[in-house]
């Protein structure tokens, strides 16, 4: 079942086409990765899908609600983690969540639940001004989860975080999907998308240039083979396309001459570069 359906969605700003005829679907309970370099239009796409701005043309629905005509219903079934850690700095973590809970009409017990979920209970009464970057990000995620949304939009959720906190956030995302949530994730971190997403869309200059599973994308644009480093220091590439190569690899392994062996498949980064001539971090 499709949770997000996008059909020919476009948006222009002052005559400049920022999102160009997007068409894709996101299935229920999956993490959908939206990958592209800075300025490609990822955030504008999220703003469109969350009803913050109207499309110039095309249509889209999230959880069955039209993004233009059913904005109130849409708002109640989505959670959004913005690129910025947009919290009320003079409020404590608990006060930030309590304010959000009252807007959504959520019971205050739920505030304590999400504080526990993001491991912020002990520091919940501290002002957000005193929070570290990682704590703020966890609080932003907690706020997005407060009303138990069916779809979670995450805009660069691990940007600028240290590797340990970024890993915690990724684990949290995985556990949310395990509970049945659909996640729309924009990122320009390849490994993040590769590890988390069932489908990824490559996005450049406002257009989707490729959309598939990470495995199929890598297989389509990379090489099927193995890179070997032998004990004598020699490097060898053995493609998988001929039967005799399999026999050759077997012989080398049996002779004990192999020092290391690595898959020669392309990374998502390689695929993106092949498709666009740009790197994601640009």
């Amino acid at each position: 079942m499709n949770t997000i359906e996008v059909d020919g969605l476009s948006r222009t700003f002052n005559g400049r086409l920022v999102v160009d005829e997007l068409t894709f679907t996101v299935q229920e309970g999956e993490i959908f990765g939206f990958l592209g370099p800075n300025g490609a239009g990822k955030t504008t796409t999220i703003r469109l899908l969350t009803g913050q701005i109207h499309p110039t043309s095309g249509r889209a629905s999230v959880s069955g609600f039209d993004i233009v005509h059913q904005r109130q219903q849409l708002k109640r079934c989505i959670g959004v983690v913005f690129e910025e850690q947009n919290l009320y700095e003079r409020f404590s973590g608990r006060e930030n969540l309590a304010f959000s809970a009252s807007l959504y009409g959520v019971d205050s017990k739920r505030v304590e639940e999400v504080l526990e979920q993001v491991s912020l209970r002990e520091r919940a009464n501290d002002r957000v001004q005193k929070y570290s970057n990682g704590m703020r990000q966890r609080l932003v995620i907690a706020r997005a989860l407060l009303h138990k949304p069916r779809v979670l939009f995450l805009d660069e959720p691990t940007r600028g975080l240290d590797p340990i906190v970024a890993r915690e956030i990724r684990l949290m995302i995985t556990s949310l999907v395990d509970q049945g949530m659909t996640v729309f994730l924009t990122t320009h971190y390849m490994e993040e998308a590769e590890h988390l997403c069932r489908h990824v869309a490559f996005f450049n200059h406002g257009r989707i240039i490729a959309l598939d599973t990470p495995e199929r994308l890598k297989a389509s644009y990379g090489k099927r083979g193995i890179n070997l480093t032998l004990m004598d220091g020699a490097h060898l590439y053995i493609p998988f396309d001929e039967t005799k190569n399999g026999e050759h690899l077997g012989e080398l392994a049996a002779s004990g001459r192999i020092l290391t062996a690595h898959s020669a498949e392309a990374s998502l980064e390689d695929v993106f570069v092949q498709l666009t001539g740009r790197r994601l971090a640009e």
């Binding site: 969350t50 009803g51 913050q52 701005i53 109207h54 904005r71 109130q72 708002k75 109640r76 989505i78 959004v80 913005f82 910025e84 947009n86 919290l87 009320y88 700095e89 003079r90 409020f91 006060e95 304010f99 959000s100 009252s102 807007l103 959504y104 009409g105 706020r143």
Partner: protein, 365 residues
């Protein structure tokens, strides 16, 4: 109906959040309290303001008249008993509501039905309401003296309108000027500084994005800020009125002026909040606007010749100052306030239209 109640609930939640935040925001909180602080300082420097709102009458009495004795005992009347007619004229020119010159043998002449002359000095620059109240009072006292309701004296009214004066009338009643200035400062300050700051801080800190994906829409956000502005105006202005125990102004006109003035300045603040994106922009422009909107209160101290006097009349707060001043002087009548009320009402409609346009623009983005 349910959705309307839900919207009102959201407006209240946003307003409550902002009220709590205003208390936590030291700069904002202090700027809210500043007019009250100034008022307290003013009261400390000028502790006796009991004369505010009283009718001041200058009298030269050669007859040791009962009329003067009656006026002395009247509440809300302050008599300035002077030695010469010229002193009466001087006082009428400067600060008195009116003046009387009672000739020798006045009471006896009235008792004998001789219809003695009575010189009554007024200053038409003081405004019609005050003069009318003064004349009515003198008529009533003369009737009382004569024991019937036809005038027992030949009243000669002499208008001693002096040079062109500001809207505060003859002389400067420092208490009234200060009270009106601080009331306008509170209302305008909250409108052009506090209200747009609340809105623009949400933009600058990107929390507006969060609000707009929550069940709140642009209308609820703007209405929430307006509610905070209105609450702040009520609390601050209300506190100042309570502190000003000797207030003798006309309450309905005062309240109407304060409500219309608050609405206007809050709407101006919301429009500013719609246009500006940073607090720095708000600070810059609110200072400029504050100076412009406070200009009419300064004109009271330093009357401007035309065309500058006419230019000040283009500032909407001129009409708020005029209403408050008339209400405080106790000389407001429907005839004297309706034009100022109309101008303020039109300004509110224009400001409201601008706010609606900015909100719709935000919603259609």
């Amino acid at each position: 109906m349910n959705s309307r109640i839900a919207n009102l609930r959201i407006i209240w939640i946003i307003a409550r959040k902002d009220l709590v935040d205003a208390v936590k925001n030291q700069l904002l909180f202090l700027s809210l309290l500043m007019p009250i602080f100034l008022w307290l300082v003013f009261r400390l420097v000028f502790p006796d303001m009991s004369g505010m709102g009283t009718m001041k009458i200058a009298i030269h009495d050669e007859a040791n008249s009962h009329l003067v004795a009656e006026l002395r005992n009247m509440p809300g009347v302050a008599l300035f008993e002077v030695e010469t007619e010229q002193q009466v004229i001087d006082l009428v020119k400067k600060q008195a509501s009116g003046g009387l010159v009672i000739p020798a043998g006045f009471d006896e002449a009235i008792a004998g039905g001789q219809n003695p002359p009575l010189n009554v000095y007024i200053n038409s620059r003081n405004g019609g309401g005050g003069i009318q109240a003064f004349q009515t009072l003198i008529d009533q006292q003369l009737w009382k003296l004569a024991g019937h309701d036809s005038l027992p004296a030949q009243i000669k009214i002499i208008d001693k309108a002096g040079e062109k004066l500001g809207m505060f009338g003859n002389g400067i009643d420092i208490g009234r000027v200060m009270t009106v200035t601080l009331l306008v400062l509170s209302i305008v300050g909250i409108g052009v500084f506090v209200v747009p700051s609340l809105l623009v801080e949400e933009k600058e800190k990107q929390t507006l994005k969060f609000l707009l994906v929550s069940p709140a829409g642009p209308v609820e956000v703007v209405a929430g800020k307006a509610l905070v502005g209105l609450a702040a105006c009520l609390v601050i202005v209300g506190s100042m009125m309570i502190l000003n125990k000797s207030w003798n102004g006309i309450w309905p006109v005062t309240l109407l002026a304060l409500i219309l003035g608050s609405l206007f300045s809050i709407l101006v603040g919301l429009a500013m909040g719609g246009f500006f994106k940073t607090i720095a922009q708000v600070n810059t422009w609110s200072s400029v606007l504050l100076i412009v909107l406070l200009l009419p209160t300064w004109v009271a101290v330093m009357p401007l010749p035309d065309p500058f006097g006419l230019i000040v009349r283009l500032v909407p707060s001129y009409y708020l100052v005029d209403l408050l001043n008339q209400a405080m002087a106790g000389n407001a009548t429907f005839g004297s306030v309706w034009s100022s009320l109309m101008v303020l009402a039109v300004c509110i409609i224009v400001a409201f239209s601008v706010v609606v346009w900015t909100v719709k623009r935000e919603d259609r983005m």
